[in-house]
């Protein structure tokens, strides 16, 4: 049977893609950010997951306001990205696992989650930057897993609640663990933490709130479900609502997790950048 071995959260700021392309790993601005990732590389090299479920939020490449799915799951054999309008470096198509995608979709709809299935899905920096961070070299990296992208709507309110996000993760975890093949699965929750790009409050970062979230998401994620969406915008900023993806990831891991690595750094671009490596203990 399939096994969920753990989860990783990371910010997915587009500037990170550029910094990787320019190899700015030792640059004084970037070093405190990139130094967090070698422990993850070591863990991934040791664990060699076959599958990555990459939970991210599309920012206006795969979806537009004409049709905005609250939760969408990729069901393609491979995933392409595109220039997002600022000429960020494109990456080659990432291999998918359509069979597992459909297993997840079947399981979660049976479990009463209403899913949008996508046989074509252009994946943006929310998906690609974490792939680059965790599997340097991508297709040249022998440990690159097959991917299942899952996107949640954080573009347009109403966005899902933190409770719904955690429950989504729990249902996802159930579907993954019921997959009959012997595969190892790692789940990513990408985005966050606090940041705001728009309005007179642009540049808002809330360290105390981020620290609290990074703590509670490990020990007591249910506590975070008490935060309303408007409170989340107020505390974490308009785009800090990306905490939703962290909650979706967390739900999939089961009750008990161990923190293997943790990092928080201000600022990367406009963002409080957070990273957590969690191993499932259930």
């Amino acid at each position: 049977m399939a096994k969920v071995i753990g989860g990783i959260t990371t910010s997915h700021i587009p500037a990170v893609g550029n910094a990787i392309a320019k190899e700015l790993f030792e640059d004084p601005y970037w070093k405190p950010f990139f130094d967090a990732y070698p422990p993850v590389h070591e863990w991934l090299a040791e664990q060699k997951p076959d599958i990555v479920v990459n939970i991210y939020n599309d920012h206006g490449l795969g979806f537009f306001l004409d049709k905005m799915p609250t939760f969408a799951i990729g069901a393609a054999h491979e995933y392409h990205n595109e220039d997002e309008g600022w000429g960020i470096p494109a990456i080659p198509p990432m291999p998918g696992d359509a069979k597992l995608s459909w297993h997840i979709i079947e399981g979660m709809v049976e479990d009463e989650f209403d899913i949008t299935s996508c046989q074509e899905l252009a994946v943006d920096h929310g998906f690609t930057v974490p792939m680059q961070l965790f599997w340097p070299g991508l297709l040249d990296n022998p440990n690159l897993p097959r991917a299942v992208p899952i996107s949640a709507n954080t573009v347009q309110h109403p966005i899902p609640t933190l409770k719904r996000a955690l429950d989504f993760g729990k249902s996802l975890g159930k579907a993954l663990r019921s997959y009959p093949e012997d595969v190892k699965i790692v789940v990513l929750g990408t985005g966050g933490l606090s940041h705001q790009l728009d309005g007179e409050r642009a540049g808002h970062i809330n360290k105390k709130f981020d620290m609290m979230c990074m703590d509670k998401i490990v020990t007591d994620p249910e506590a975070l479900t008490k935060i309303s969406r408007m409170e989340l915008v107020k505390e974490a900023g308009s785009q800090g609502t990306e905490l939703i993806m962290w909650m979706m990831m967390r739900g999939a891991l089961g009750d008990n997790v161990e923190v293997l690595a943790k990092n928080y750094h201000i600022p990367i671009s406009n963002t409080g950048a957070g990273m957590l490596l969690l191993e499932s203990k259930d």
Partner: protein
Amino acid sequence: MSHAELHQHFDIPGTTIFDGEMAMKGYGLNKMCYSFNAAAARDAFVADPEGYMDKFGLSDAQKEVVRNKDVLGMINEGGNIYYLAKLAGIFKLSVQDVGGIQTGMTTEEFKQKLLDQNNQ
């Protein structure tokens, strides 16, 4: 209680909640910006901004804020920052340039503000 009233309980200074009402108001503007995912669309806009804005049915107010690179104005007219970022790309404005424009700072001042956030 209407959704607008609901949001009024959470008046967050300097923050626009991009909800259904704003998404309807900004539909044409955002649709134009979404088109800029394609390089050919960006070229077409640069070649003829007025014609391109007409094609997407922007209102006069929306055209005016685009001409003036008035980011707060664009948000007020229903623009969503994720789509507007693609327009900012055409104008060669970074995220920090856009932050500075909205907060009345130079880009350098805005970058410093971000660095200072570490001292919270």
